[in-house]
Symmetry: C2
């Protein structure tokens, strides 16, 4: 069976077996469907291609297609099938409703693939293929991020080290070595720092001793460094480490740690950038900590903005892949959904909207429930891109709604309670308060909301009817049952028709939840109110940070809330639609280059671990065929 | 100017300017010249392709071409142009002498590109292009090595952590969870461990408590762990670190460190493997340390041999690139030249020898002087590949010979002493003792030795004549002046003709320096004698390690000496051809999966640092054209 001709069997086989049963089309075929010629992309093997950013410039004058974002209700720890629904909807639009369509998805982190979670390519008969290439390496973007992030980290410690052992004049002489003619000069990136320091001189020898000190000595406060190293591996022993213990590092030890690579600010930059020159500026503006006098120190101050851009120059091009039914997918960027904004890239969406053109569809997924994913999609991603969605989907499952209605705790790896696999309309109805709030919050952006009920085999007609009624009562444009997991695109045709109607009848402009020109606290409070909070409480540390970022001139940035995805509130066990609570802000941090301030509502783990029996035990290569076995 | 039509100017411009002045051919053109069709390779953009291993199987019956290895005399810290000569020779053979030729080169480490060194693509008019793609990311092989290396590192600490908190029975139950039918089973990789333990049972419940303990508890001795984490960044602050200081790691702190990625044993495995199934076995056999009872613990014991192979499955395919004159280059693997064997991959050479076929040439470079690079090429690489070179080149410069003759110390970054830029035949003649020993040692392998004098503009005819005379007196097949840096392939035509004659007249079989079935010490001593040593002295630690490796059954492996490249002896300042010294062995380590034991003659730095002004200050992207600036 080759891609495009999907023959489904029942019961649904394992994801990897479905993925392996389909021979993908050569990616140049998928590109041709989008009217891309070989100059528009770089092949990476037979089933992946990087679509070049220049395509957007070429099609700039073309009208955009419809823009659809897929969010969800507050999920159980098992997930409610947002990615699967995103892929299934596109298979329906492309393979059954004859629409031009591009799915835009996040690139998954490689590390967790070897831990406890499976891949992130969708599931059942709604998947991106080849599944192993999607989950591992892809076209190297995350590896590029790791390299760039860690080069910056190395530069920070080394700069402090060299400043500790050299006087100002020696530093200047080393930074500006004589050229062949014996003349010392500043180079381009040094002029950026001089400009920031309001020094208008062009020759090193013209600097006063005070200016030499300001220019050559960054004087980084080691305690202020927020830049950590990253690795795309679940390595819990790197969460907190001490570096610099070698005999040659002269006792300059420091406590720091590693995050998983997708938590790097550079990933958020990649997701939010709009062009090569914009990426160059954002990378240069990233703040790694403060000088001892409290000034923010940037990658450009360290001389690195250009080199980081060079390391990221190919990563800015989105990767073209395909679904099981041969519809095109652009995979690009995968920032964390809590400490970052959890959405795939702006550039992929912008290119895709031009490629599908008027009447076509671009469907993208926003991480976590709509309180986090869709909110950040609207207030951060769309704010930077200038794009406006016509339709937002909210994926719901009977299982999650029952949990919100008061059902027993759902735990990954443990069997589901009976309440979840037998009819219980009462629980479903009670749980719809969660759905209703997601609908109301999402409608407030001025988009039409379509609820997609992702069907499980144990769901009953009465339960599904209850959800539909509640959805429409809460103001949804439509609510539709989907069976794309079992049937591929065919199972999401009704959803596709509903989305089409929702897009065609959308007329309102995008209304943000908050303007940018209010204070950091006012913005935090606007988001907190949308969660149902009656107020916000700030720790001393949070107050201090808000004051600092405001003083440093960063209060005009949008807010990226780092909150649990398991409740509207900060308390993961508060299901349904909690209200009247006070939202605690424990700390406030900034991704200044990416362009947002992120308040920490709880403790966010930024480095997962491995269990006693990680799934790598099952992963192997068939060395005869070269095929990957055991990936799930 | 497009590749293949080289127009040289004088004086020679900067490397990057030459590289940027040539438009490379589409790599499919280069592939076509080698009679490769699109099924034989995967494109990675327009100028790189991965040649699939299956090509070798397809051409298995074809006769090999000639096999030429390029080594050097003991170098100055400035380098004597081995890579440049390798590339220049191939440009001569391919573009001027109408021979089928493939250059096989190591992939350079990305980290140092941003530090103090320039790229490694050759120089002047003898380069591999595109130079930025050669030096950065390439096709992701080093990134794959980093990911695999660090997954194994994470698995080690996490396994110890989980074993510390669980009883034997709980460990077994977690390792062998019940399947859907409620039955506990061993999987493939577990049967490898059972076999190693001589346990012939097939069901977890049949194990005795002692067997459960042996199987499920690896009981790794934390002090014995030799596996370190890696990163392809010059990050000196990671040389020695303490991990596990997070609150959730229960105080299980441990001192360890990071090496640069190319120092990973996985890089050495990639370089020495001969097939996918061989790579699977080598990766699984890698020893990470010992159990508390002294048994070696492998990647397969940790359940990881298969997953590591999956991460490396694309990395095993060599990357096709081109020279400035459009001749093909296979870039593949770049192991350290001291703690590893410093040679590019076996699979690239094997594929290349089939592609050029009888009468064609494969020219590869061996890292450092011939005492290290060529010795390891013969005794390790050729031993594993079964291949036999016909000709070995020794690259010499007047500059280095003068140093060996007693010239003043040569220091990178400082101006050369007058002795090096004015005629001094006496110094050259005196220095030829170094060249002579390299020639004699290399001839002993049964190959014809051609000396290539890499000409600098200040070299005089009398000096060059002195080298030629000394070379022939020492038994060289020929000695030839080369000007490929200034003239491209045209400047190495004489060398090409000499190499052709040397290959055509080679008749002897390959004679190794030592057999494998003698003791570790006897092998070390055979190599030491070739350096001119009168004996070997072992530290207590070295004695202990030799005893351990012998007891563990690894004494049959070849030896990979970790010695300074700046002298035949352990003392970098002993130039010329020192003799009568006692070679000190400070420690002995093993790369068991890769397949060698490496005695440490000195302290080898495996993680470089960044200077006060790293070259990243000059690196930027022209965001209009997408072109890299400032890379050198």
């Amino acid at each position: 069976m080759t891609s495009r001709k999907l023959q489904v069997v029942s019961p649904v086989p394992a994801d990897i077996d479905i993925a392996n049963s389909v021979v993908p089309l050569h990616i140049s075929e998928i590109a041709k469907d989008l009217h891309l010629n070989p100059d528009h992309y770089d092949l990476y093997g037979k089933y992946k291609a990087k679509v070049l950013l220049s395509v957007f410039d070429e099609l700039k004058e073309r009208e955009d297609g419809y823009y659809v974002v897929v969010g969800g209700i507050t999920p159980t720890p098992l997930g409610e099938g947002k990615s699967t629904t995103t892929v299934g909807l596109c298979q329906a639009l492309g393979a059954f409703l004859d629409k031009k369509v591009v799915t835009t998805l996040r690139q998954p982190s490689q590390g967790p693939t070897f831990g406890i979670k499976g891949g992130a390519a969708g599931g059942g008969y709604s998947q991106v293929i080849p599944m192993d290439e999607f989950n591992l390496h892809l076209t190297g973007d995350i590896h590029a991020i790791t390299a760039a992030n860690n080069l910056l980290a190395a530069a920070i410690d080394t700069r402090i080290f060299h400043e500790n052992t050299q006087k100002d004049a020696a530093l200047l002489n080393r930074l500006c070595p004589p050229n062949k003619e014996g003349v010392r000069t500043f180079n381009d990136i040094m002029f950026r720092r001089l400009k920031k320091l309001n020094i208008n001189k062009t020759k090193p020898e013209d600097l006063t001793p005070e200016e030499v000190n300001k220019f050559a000595r960054l004087d980084i406060d080691p305690d202020s460094i927020t830049w950590r190293r990253v690795m795309d591996v679940n390595d819990r022993f790197l969460r907190k480490i001490t570096v610099g213990q070698g005999p040659d590092e002269k006792g300059m030890v420091r406590e720091t740690g590693f995050d998983i690579s997708v938590a790097s600010e550079i990933m958020a930059v990649l997701a939010l950038t709009t062009s090569l020159s914009d990426m160059r500026e954002r990378l240069g503006k990233m703040v790694i900590g403060n000088s001892k006098s409290g000034d923010p120190i940037t990658a450009d101050d360290l001389g690195l903005g250009g080199a980081l851009t060079v390391l990221m120059k190919d990563a800015i091009n989105p990767t073209l892949m395909q679904t099981l039914e041969g519809t095109p997918v652009l995979v690009h960027a995968g920032p964390f959904a809590n400490i970052a904004h959890g959405n795939s890239s702006i550039v992929a969406d912008k290119i895709a909207l031009k490629l599908v053109g008027p009447g076509g569809y671009v469907v993208t997924e926003a991480g976590f429930g709509s309180d986090i994913g869709t909110e950040k999609f609207m207030n951060i991603k769309c704010r930077y891109s200038g794009l406006k969605p016509q339709c937002a989907i909210i994926v719901a499952t009977i299982r999650a709604l029952k949990m919100h209605g008061g059902g027993p705790v759902v735990t990954a790896g443990k069997p589901l309670d009976r309440a979840y696999v037998t009819e219980n309309v009462g629980l479903v109805e009670a749980g719809c308060v969660n759905l209703a709030r997601h609908i109301e919050n999402t409608r407030a952006y001025g988009v039409n909301v379509v609820v997609a009920v992702n069907k499980f085999s144990t769901d009953t007609d009465a339960e599904i009817a209850a959800v539909k009624n509640a959805a429409l009562a809460a103001g949804a444009f439509d609510a539709v049952l989907c069976t794309h997991h079992a049937h591929g695109g065919k199972g999401a045709v009704d959803l596709g028709i509903a989305v089409q109607k929702a897009c065609e009848s959308a007329t309102q402009p995008l209304k943000f939840l908050y303007p940018l020109d209010i204070s950091i606290k006012e913005k935090i409070e606007a988001i907190a109110r949308s969660y149902g909070a009656s107020g916000v409480e700030y720790s001393d540390q949070a107050e201090k940070q808000i004051e600092m970022y405001t003083k440093q001139g960063f209060s005009g940035l949008p807010i990226c809330m780092a909150k649990t995805q398991y409740s509207f509130s900060d308390n993961a066990s508060a299901k349904g639609a909690p209200s009247g609570f006070v939202l605690p802000i424990r700390d406030v941090r900034g991704s200044i280059g990416a362009g947002f301030i992120y308040p920490l509502v709880g403790t966010m783990s930024t480095m997962p671990g491995l269990p006693t029996r990680p799934c790598f035990y099952d992963i192997d290569l068939d060395t005869e065929t070269g095929r990957v076995k055991g990936l799930s």
